[in-house]
């Protein structure tokens, strides 16, 4: 038994869970947010919640890019795909995200040329193979994904490929964390920091959370023991009244991040003054757009992008779930009008969304009532 198995070793997990129970002061309630959707997924997948004491509450954060993309941006992409000159390319998990016009998969079934790609570099290759068509890449994701788009744009510029462009929907995690910390509903004691975003941005960008808001952050891996160790590290800090940034995921995350990837991001992108997040509303300087030097490869500069705004159904309480005010099943639509098969709210859309994870791993496991 080695490595991954060790991060899932029941004995080590039980020992760490016991340490968590020992550290959790019964006289207080702990609320810890896991920022990243992958952490939410791991917590439910491995049933980690069941190992924790009742007074340690995990709150699911905004770290799923598919979930936080407003429906209007999906519709903007789909409108581009209605132009027969355009091949719209997107990651697989974007294909079933609904806008008001339907999902990319549904539009494809109706005849739009929408293709799934694994990497933006594949979209660039597609443009090289189809010089008579325009290939638009629907870019989405946090700082883990944005470097691959930046690198692709740099290559497109170097190779002078004129029929490739990017519809940029990249967002950045730190402003979202700040928005949550500034929310009047905020009652969090600490954060499990995102693992793979931090490979790019490092741990330093979270220092404001400790410095300005006196909350600890522990950057964590995705295996069960990674998450439990991170909770131990957070509880130790909270109990001692400390607030620091710590790195549990040292084997993957360098403290300073990836300087070359950060340089590529800075060369290709600049911050948008504001961007709308599903469930959280408009957040200033929270998303990326292409710099003017890359305008020839910017789909928003080259094509008419409608700028559609679609209001989410009022009954969907995604914002409250994102901020940790409500748990997924406390939303009025959860499991009824809103399911992974037919999602209404943002957090049911992606498999990494808090509601989808809860639905798949907890809700379905609950006994079915007789009525």
């Amino acid at each position: 038994m080695k490595y991954v198995d060790e991060f899932r070793d029941p004995k080590l997990i039980e020992k760490t869970a016991e340490e968590i129970r020992r550290l959790a002061d019964p006289k207080r309630h702990y609320r810890i947010m896991e920022v990243c959707g992958g952490h939410t997924h791991s917590i439910y997948r491995f049933g980690l919640q069941d190992l924790l004491p009742e007074n340690l509450e995990l709150v699911h954060g905004p770290g799923c890019p598919v979930c936080v993309l407003p429906m209007g941006r999906v519709d903007d992409g789909l409108k581009l795909a209605q132009d027969p000159q355009i091949i719209l390319t997107a990651f697989g998990d974007m294909m079933r995200v609904p806008g008001q016009m339907g999902t990319p998969l549904e539009m494809k079934a109706k005849g739009a040329d929408i293709r799934m790609v694994y990497s933006p570099l594949d979209a660039l290759k597609l443009a090289q193979k189809n010089p008579e068509r325009q290939v638009v890449f629907f870019a989405i994701g946090f700082e883990t994904t944005a470097p691959s788009t930046a690198l692709t744009l740099k290559r497109a510029q170097q190779m002078g490929i004129p029929n490739f462009s990017v519809f940029c929907n990249h967002v950045t995690i730190v402003p979202a964390m700040r928005a949550i910390l500034d929310s009047p509903d905020m009652r969090l004691d600490g954060f499990v920091g995102p693992g793979h975003v931090s490979t790019v941005i490092g741990c330093r960008p979270y220092e404001f959370v400790a410095r300005e808001y006196a909350r600890p952050v522990v950057v964590s891996g995705f295996e069960p023991l990674d998450l439990l160790q991170s909770l131990v590290m957070l509880l130790r800090q909270i109990n001692q009244g400390q607030a620091r940034v710590e790195n549990q995921y040292e084997r993957v995350v360098p403290w300073e991040g990836n300087p070359a990837a950060l340089a590529a991001l800075a060369e290709v992108f600049e911050l948008r003054p504001y961007f709308e997040w599903r469930g959280l509303g408009f957040i200033s300087q929270s998303a990326l757009k292409l710099r003017p030097e890359y305008a020839p490869w910017d789909a928003e500069a080259r094509f008419e992008v409608a700028g559609v705004r679609v209001t989410d159904p009022k009954a969907a309480q995604c914002g409250e779930v994102l901020k940790g005010v409500l748990k997924p099943p406390q939303c009025k639509l959860f499991g009824k009008e809103c399911t992974p098969e037919k999602p209404v709210g943002a957090l049911m859309v992606s498999s990494e969304g808090a509601c989808a994870a809860y639905y798949n791993y907890v809700h379905r496991a609950e006994p079915v009532s007789g009525d």
């Binding site: 998990d93 990497s119 891996g221 023991l225 990836n258």
Partner: protein, 82 residues
């Protein structure tokens, strides 16, 4: 040489939500060709990925790959889970 399994269970053919990067894959460099490298995951599956963000790579190095691009060089923290 670093053991890839220490860095997660994802493989190059892993399915799942890709946009958030949680399925980033630990791989080993098999061959370097300019800005690209041939890499291999823990199951022996191979793929060609971009390695533009690393200038000092050598065959045998371990990388974390996301969306066909290497985003991190894996390090040995010199300890196992406590």
């Amino acid at each position: 040489m670093l053991d890839l399994e220490f860095y997660g269970s994802c493989t190059l053919d892993a399915d799942g939500c890709t946009t958030c990067g949680d399925v980033a894959v630990p791989v080993r460099v098999v061959k370097i060709e300019g800005c690209d490298a041939l890499v291999e995951d823990r199951l022996g599956h191979q793929a060609r990925v971009a390695v533009d963000f690393f200038t000092d790579l050598k065959v045998g190095d371990a990388l974390l790959v996301h969306m066909g691009v290497a985003i991190a060089k894996l390090s040995d923290p010199g300890r196992e889970p406590q």
